[in-house]
């Protein structure tokens, strides 16, 4: 560093001249540089924002279409199918046996989907391999009872208006992590408008902090 110092002191006039000559050249070069910069910036930004999510997520169709709205209107509420067990644990997506409580006769409706259900699963006594949009990773302990019973929350707060859907949207899976896209949220920037748009840990922590005054200790939500 000190060498530069010396040089700068000794050769100030010389370098000043060089500098002015250089600047004119610089301008043109810089202009071109800026154009390239903008082109590359825009191209990369767009590919990182639009193309990247397409590559990151794989799309999987559900085994057959499921009409939540229809089932809710028949059953009346969510709890008929998604209930708490006697021990307080949550059943999640119902097992075939629960479906058969209503679908006990061959066919109830006449849709193609129900035909698939009966042929592929009911008659073969096979569980339906649903893709779960809101599946949390194994490291997460989530108690539905704590939220719905003790916390008095409704399903919509976290799951949105899925009960009103008439068809199953494709399940999108992160190719790297295996997570459902619903965890990070549809928006690749992670921006959310509704409480159910994203299900990352920060979302849990924020609500916990607001509602209980503390985001909770590790084991409260992790196992």
């Amino acid at each position: 560093m000190s060498e530069i110092e010396n040089k700068a002191e000794n050769g100030s006039t010389e370098s000043a001249g060089e500098g002015s000559a250089g600047e004119a050249k610089d301008d043109k070069g810089l202009g071109l540089g800026i154009i390239f910069f903008i082109i590359a910036f825009v191209a990369c930004f767009l590919s990182g924002t639009l193309l990247f999510p397409k590559l990151l997520y794989s799309k999987k169709e559900q085994p057959f279409n499921f009409d939540h709205a229809l089932h809710v209107s028949e059953a009346g509420d969510c709890e008929t199918c998604h209930s708490l067990r006697e021990d307080g644990s949550f059943t999640g997506i119902p097992k075939l046996a629960t479906c058969l409580d209503c679908h006990y006769e061959d066919v109830l409706g006449e849709t193609e989907d129900e035909a698939t259900f009966v042929e592929e699963y009911v008659s073969k006594e096979k569980e339906v391999p649903w893709h779960v949009y809101s599946r949390q990773p194994d490291s997460v302990f989530f108690s539905h009872a704590a939220h719905t019973e003790a916390g008095g929350m409704d399903c919509v707060s976290c799951h949105g208006n899925i009960g009103e859907s008439t068809s199953s949207r494709p399940y999108e899976e992160n190719r790297i992590t295996g997570y459902s896209r619903d965890i990070w949220g549809k928006n690749i920037f992670g921006i959310k408008k509704h409480s159910w748009d994203r299900m990352k840990m920060d979302d849990c922590a924020k609500c916990h902090k607001k509602e209980t005054g503390h985001q909770g200790y590790c084991f409260q939500c992790h196992k």
Partner: protein, 416 residues
């Protein structure tokens, strides 16, 4: 062949000879890289660490390179803040050594953690109470500072300097270097200190725990101080080694003497503090927890009082005494002995503060745990050394590192 890159007026060995030397060191480097990948892909079962030795050779190496790399911040502090101008003749080299040490430390940490891809959690989910968090933040920030400090020197390369932008950049960066030096000193104070704090706050480990000031145990201050004291020893040692290898005098004696003198006084003051700390710990802290001093130095086949004596007397008091006395300081042989002892002393201190802590039994029915590193650990620890040698070789060959080189080695400018 590469003469266009070599600093003006400097004489360097022929490229083939240089290449052979680099190739040999690179082989060692590759061995280390191989071991590094083994650790990353197969996991830390490649090491001989275990649940007793969660911290072992690597953490020692980390602490040691950061301690000896302390020459960079301390020399910078002296040069830019305390305006000791002679040190401009060694500051470049001090910065390079610092850069090597800190980049090595970061690399070792990246190997050492069980989940390297989650390493950034230390920033994202930082726990402000943890000394390690403080280490991570200050270490990374200071590494950035060192990089900034190193850049002007790189831009001074003959070819790079021809580019006006680089020339001006280097010049302007230089103008603000005092700010970086101050920042570096501030950051170093904290990360050197918090590395000391890592041990001092372990109140479950009577061998490590120290009382202190506010949230900082005494080891916090001792580590900073010892890095400042012994860091310059290492700078001088590497300078001496470089001189020996190149066969050239690179820094004038008055500069060396000055840095040695400062280091000497720092060592003396440090070692007094260290002795007081050790005595207080041995006579008050440890006994209050039910431990005699002898508990930490007997009943095992390696850790004995010799360790304590070597660290404090042979590698502390002795080099301190040599370096503060004009006659011995200016005797090249004795000075060399002192800087070697000093470097060993600080490394030994870091060993004690990492490995002996893990070795000492705490529960009355537990036993001493001894440890021998695996070859993978050794290879990855040698890796930074090889990398350092290569970086110094390149820096020396292509950058004007030593401002006094030309003056001290009057040769005709290279003509081709």
């Amino acid at each position: 062949m590469d003469s266009a890159l070599i600093p003006e007026g400097a004489k360097r060995c022929p490229l083939p000879k240089f290449s052979i030397g680099i190739a040999i060191v690179s082989a060692v480097l590759l061995w280390g890289v191989y071991a590094m990948f083994l650790c990353w892909f197969k996991g830390l079962n490649q090491t001989n660490m275990n649940d007793y030795y969660g911290f072992a050779l690597w953490i020692w190496a980390d602490l040691a390179v950061i301690a000896v790399g302390g020459g960079a911040f301390f020399t910078g502090l002296l040069k830019y803040i305390f305006k000791i101008d002679e040190l401009k003749n060694i500051i470049n080299f001090a910065v390079i050594i610092g850069f090597i040490c800190y980049s090595s430390a970061l690399l070792i940490l990246a190997i050492d953690i069980g989940q390297p891809l989650r390493g950034w959690f230390i920033f994202w989910h930082a726990n402000v109470h943890s000394m390690l968090t403080e280490v991570a933040f200050c270490l990374s920030a200071y590494f950035a500072v060192l990089t900034i400090e190193f850049i002007p020197n790189i831009l001074e390369n003959r070819q790079a300097n021809k580019v006006p932008f680089f020339h001006h950049l280097a010049h302007n960066m230089h103008g603000v270097m005092a700010i970086f030096a101050a920042t570096g000193a501030f950051l170093s104070f904290f990360h050197q200190g918090s590395l000391g704090g890592v041990a001092g706050v372990m109140y479950g480990r009577p061998f490590a725990v120290r009382e202190g000031l506010l949230v900082w145990p005494w080891t916090f201050f001792l580590f900073t101080w010892s890095a400042a004291a012994y860091g310059p020893c290492f700078t001088l040692l590497v300078t001496k080694t470089t001189e020996a290898i190149t066969g050239k005098k690179l820094v004038k004696d008055n500069v060396i003497h000055l840095l040695a003198k400062i280091s000497g006084w720092m060592i003396v003051t440090y070692i007094i503090a260290k002795i007081i700390d050790t005595a207080y710990w041995a006579m008050v802290t440890a006994p209050s927890l039910g431990f005699n001093l002898s508990h930490f130095y007997t009943d095992n086949s390696f850790y004995g009082y010799w360790m304590l004596i070597t660290e404090i007397v042979i590698c502390g008091v002795v080099p301190g005494a040599i370096l503060i006395t004009k006659s011995t300081r200016e005797n090249p042989k004795l000075r060399l002995v002192a800087i070697i002892l000093g470097t060993i002393g600080v490394c030994l201190n870091r060993w004690v503060m990492v490995l002996q802590i893990m070795a000492v039994p705490v529960m009355s029915f537990d036993t001493w745990a001894l440890y021998i590193p695996s070859w993978q650990e050794i290879a990855t620890t040698v890796l930074p050394v090889a990398y350092g040698v290569i970086l110094i070789a390149f820096a020396y060959r292509y950058l004007p590192v030593f401002p006094q080189e030309q003056e001290l080695n009057q040769v005709k400018p290279v003509t081709e």
